[in-house]
């Protein structure tokens, strides 16, 4: 029988013990004594969220294909388990072997959103690993971070030994080989870090020093170790068809957020929406061959017994062979009782045909993400979706029997005016009006429009990285204004308006474009009890404000300040191979509300072509 790290008494007292026992189907079992490198992969949020993440499944599978490596997993213990572990002095353990995390060679933490930063400190503390990289000894694992937030690692730089900048499939083999060799030769922690710093895409923060001007902006950012390169270049897969992909993904024992097989059809996006970080970070578009996808779908469904398969990409409609793939899946899955989930699909005739085949029209709703209400605003953000297209899609869907529509918008976009905000309400209403042009006997009851707004948070490596973010007060004013306008609409009763929490967005804005000075703020907030900040029931804004104040830092310096092009941004030392010149050009075009054609229409020379297979933009 498997020995568990936690006693029955604790597991039967806390909520959802299945989070902590491992033993998922397709879990990899190895003898830790027979491997050279033990890697513990962490998603710093609760199990159900972490288990839904594709990136970890890819790396878990890829690492474990190596005989000399045993990759295990750990997730953030929920506050009830956190308390029990502290009370009974149970060190944080990996799910597979149930061994303490501290016994591993590496602790890899994926950084998917800024609001998980305090959870990183929880993971370190429960593991018994010193918070600061420079305090760690030979006994401690090497703490390595990766994922989208690693593209501005500065606010959490002090807590990490290494950041991996780029897609995991590219350099990890080299990194593991180098580590294994150095460990065998008895290298010290410092020697190992110096060795790894020489691998492309690897950033060792303690080998760099930052100095600041009186106004708080960066004066210099310099490498202070001879092995540390001045610039860190993003690593990206060029051939996604032949890159490693899990054919036997883990199947959780309990219900998780995304309880399905995930098929990543492509990486990158041709659209170039100016607010979208992923659209820049994962350039260029790289499509996975349709035959490989069919093979993967079959294998994964067979190996998991999952009842749903979901296509994953930033914009599925742009995948060249989408029709072929989707109709194949409908034929294959339908006969096997498997559902198909198709997020990020542009509503057109094909999408409606597919949706009518895979879901119950009466229960499902249509989703549009215009992101902005006015055409001017959509031009500013380069969202190539026109009102005409939205109305036509909605009308086709209404005629097909749908009567529920979800709309997603952002408030606080650069150059936004009240007129732009009002157009959110007007567009919502116009869709409802379209519905009522259908004769009564041909409609399916009343129309329901759900319009949601989130607050725009500027992100590094986007054309809006320099832009001023609105303050919470301004956001609230915009939201109240819109609420009022929604009520003025003819079909106000058919429109439901939802909005996001403003304080969470403010914090996200702070951390997204923060610098190294923020590490103390994160630490103080954590010490003050902040954890699971992305969970509204645990998020306490006041504690964060107190932590900022105690460190004499002003949130508006980081959020509500227009940066100049010559300012050294905290993430400037990272070269994502999308040039700063291109981002600058895009910001200027945005201010003029001029759209930039997508990658398939015309190459804009962003620089990411170095990672494309053959013809950049084609995806092939």
């Amino acid at each position: 029988m498997r020995k568990l790290a936690v006693s029955d008494e604790i597991l039967l007292t806390i909520d959802k013990p299945a989070r902590y026992i491992g033993n998922e189907y397709n879990m990899v079992v190895k003898n830790p004594k027979e491997v050279d490198v033990r890697f513990c992969m962490c998603f710093p949020d609760v199990y159900e969220i972490g288990m839904s993440h594709l990136g970890i499944q890819i790396l878990y599978d890829m690492f474990n294909k190596r005989e000399d490596v045993y990759c295990e997993r750990v997730y953030s213990p929920w506050p009830d388990m956190d308390r029990a572990m502290r009370e009974h002095k149970i060190p944080l353990f990996a799910l597979e072997s149930q061994d303490p995390v501290k016994a591993f060679d590496f602790l890899g933490i994926t950084l998917q959103y800024e609001m998980c930063y305090t959870n990183i400190l929880q993971i370190l503390e429960l593991s018994g690993i010193p918070f600061y990289a420079t305090d760690r000894s030979e006994e401690d694992p090497i703490v390595i971070g990766g994922g989208p937030c690693a593209y501005n690692p500065e606010p959490i730089a002090d807590f990490f030994d290494i950041f991996y900048i780029g897609e995991g499939e590219t350099k990890y083999d080299e990194l593991l080989d180098a580590y294994k060799e150095m460990k065998k030769n008895g290298a010290s922690r410092r020697e190992i870090l110096e060795g790894l710093a020489q691998i492309e895409g690897i950033y060792v923060p303690q080998f760099y020093e930052v100095s600041y001007k009186d106004d708080g902006t960066i004066e210099t950012f310099k490498a202070v170790n001879q092995y540390a390169p001045e610039r860190i270049v993003r690593q990206a897969v060029t051939d996604v068809t032949n890159s490693s992909y899990p054919e036997k993904p883990l199947v959780p024992l309990m219900r998780v957020t995304q309880d399905r097989v995930v098929l990543e059809i492509q990486r990158g996006c041709i659209r170039g929406c100016r607010f979208c970080q992923a659209g820049m970070l994962y350039r260029p578009i790289r499509e996975r061959d349709v035959n490989r996808l069919k093979e993967l779908a079959d294998k994964m469904l067979e190996a998991t017994g999952q009842e749903e398969i979901s296509l994953s990409s930033l914009s599925s409609s742009d995948y060249t062979d989408l029709k072929e793939l989707v109709y194949y899946l409908i034929d294959e899955c339908g006969s096997k009782g498997v559902n198909i989930s198709l997020p990020s699909l542009r509503i057109d005739a094909f999408a409606l045909d597919v949706m009518s085949k895979v879901q119950d029209i009466r229960k499902s709703s249509l989703t549009f993400a215009p992101e902005a209400g006015s055409q001017r605003m959509r031009n500013v953000i380069n969202k190539g979706l026109t009102e005409e297209v939205i109305l036509k899609g909605a009308m086709d869907a209404f005629r097909g029997g749908w009567n529920r529509v979800k709309l997603y918008f952002m408030l606080g976009l650069p150059t936004e005016t009240e007129e732009d905000i009002e157009q959110i309400a007007v567009l919502s209403d116009r869709i409802a009006r379209e519905y009522y042009t259908i004769p009564k006997d041909e409609r399916n009851g009343k129309v329901q429009i759900v319009s949601s707004t989130s607050f725009f948070v500027p992100k590094p490596f986007t054309p809006f990285q320099w832009t001023r973010m609105a303050t919470p007060e301004e956001f609230l004013q915009k939201q109240r204004f819109l609420k009022g306008k929604m009520k003025e609409q003819l079909n106000a009763k058919s429109i439901k308006y939802n909005w996001h929490e403003v304080e969470l967005s403010a914090l996200e804005g702070l951390l997204a474009r923060g610098d190294r000075k923020l590490s103390k703020v994160i630490m103080d907030a954590y010490k003050d009890g902040c954890m699971f900040d992305s969970w509204s029931e645990y998020f306490v804004y006041e504690k964060w404000m107190r932590a900022l104040e105690n460190n004499h830092l002003d949130i508006n310096f980081y959020t509500a300040r227009e940066r100049s092009y010559d300012e050294i941004l905290p993430w400037d030392f990272i070269d994502i191979k999308v040039s700063k010149k291109f981002l600058e050009r895009e910001y200027e075009q945005a201010k003029k509300a001029v759209v930039t054609p997508n990658c398939r229409q015309n190459c804009s020379g962003c620089g990411a072509a170095v990672f494309s297979g053959t013809k950049c933009g084609s995806g092939r």
Partner: protein
């Protein structure tokens, strides 16, 4: 559709997996094993399956039952093997039988369960515990106050205690019990221990004992909705749920 019944065991760390998750586990395992399960109609078809009785979180068992409707069947041996090839070591299929066409679901015919109760590692009992418990269970009535959110109700647990035996030979404490189960009336075995501790004026700690379900029975002499507890006019004829069908070779 062919009606069939699977008997399975749940051991080790799987005891931390709740009933709904066990159901989902089987849904996926049946797919992995390519068992030809029947589906319900509609946009979200689900496999036609039902469990005899949910096993509480923390309990282990070697006598769980799952009824299925299948479109085709190979052999019992093949189906057991195919399932076990794609299931956890701690969730094993023990038996597969095809039921008669008119068979009722195990959930509807369940009448009694066997349990084995042992002492959890690290816990201790007082010296004459076995004798005292034996005497308590031997009383003519075992009154127990069932507390729910809305009301408190006094019940006599003796009526639903069909058999019990304390093992005096074994070094460690071990109690066998057979109690009423099913959709009409269901008793949890720990109620007897709880009643015993309360009779001593002591607090019952739910972690002292480990509970293991051994077997489930139907009463072939009972009509639909009828429960023949102790003291009833009718004689109980208990038959394990696995004995209602045929092994297919």
């Amino acid at each position: 559709m062919i009606k069939a019944r699977i008997k399975f065991e749940k051991t080790g760390s799987m005891k931390f997996i709740g009933h709904l998750d066990v159901m989902r586990y089987f849904q996926k395992a049946l797919k992995r094993a390519k068992i030809d399960v029947g589906y319900s109609e509609g946009f979200n078809p689900h496999q036609l399956m039902s469990f005899a009785s949910p096993l509480g979180l923390g309990l282990t068992s070697c006598g769980e039952y799952l009824d299925l409707q299948l479109k085709s069947v190979t052999s019992s041996e093949d189906i057991v093997k195919r399932l076990n090839d794609v299931m956890s070591e701690e969730l094993r299929v023990l038996d597969f039988k095809v039921l008669p066409e008119d068979a009722k679901t195990s959930m509807s015919i369940l009448a009694a369960c066997d349990y084995k109760i042992t002492l959890r590692q690290g816990y201790h009992l007082w010296e004459n515990f076995r004798q005292e418990l034996d005497a308590f269970l031997g009383n003519d009535t075992i009154l127990f106050t069932k507390k729910t959110k809305k009301s408190t109700k006094e019940v006599d647990l003796k009526q639903s205690l069909y058999e019990y035996k304390i093992d005096y030979e074994a070094e460690e404490f071990s109690l066998f019990m057979q109690v009423t189960s099913g959709s009409v009336f269901n008793v949890k075995p720990e109620l007897y221990l709880q009643a015993f501790y309360e009779s001593k004026g002591m607090e019952y700690s739910p972690f002292t004992f480990e509970i293991h379900r051994l077997e489930m029975y139907a009463d072939t002499n009972a009509k639909k909705g009828e429960v023949n507890m102790n003291g009833s006019d009718k004689k109980r004829v208990l038959q394990p749920l696995s004995e209602f069908g045929e092994t297919v070779s």
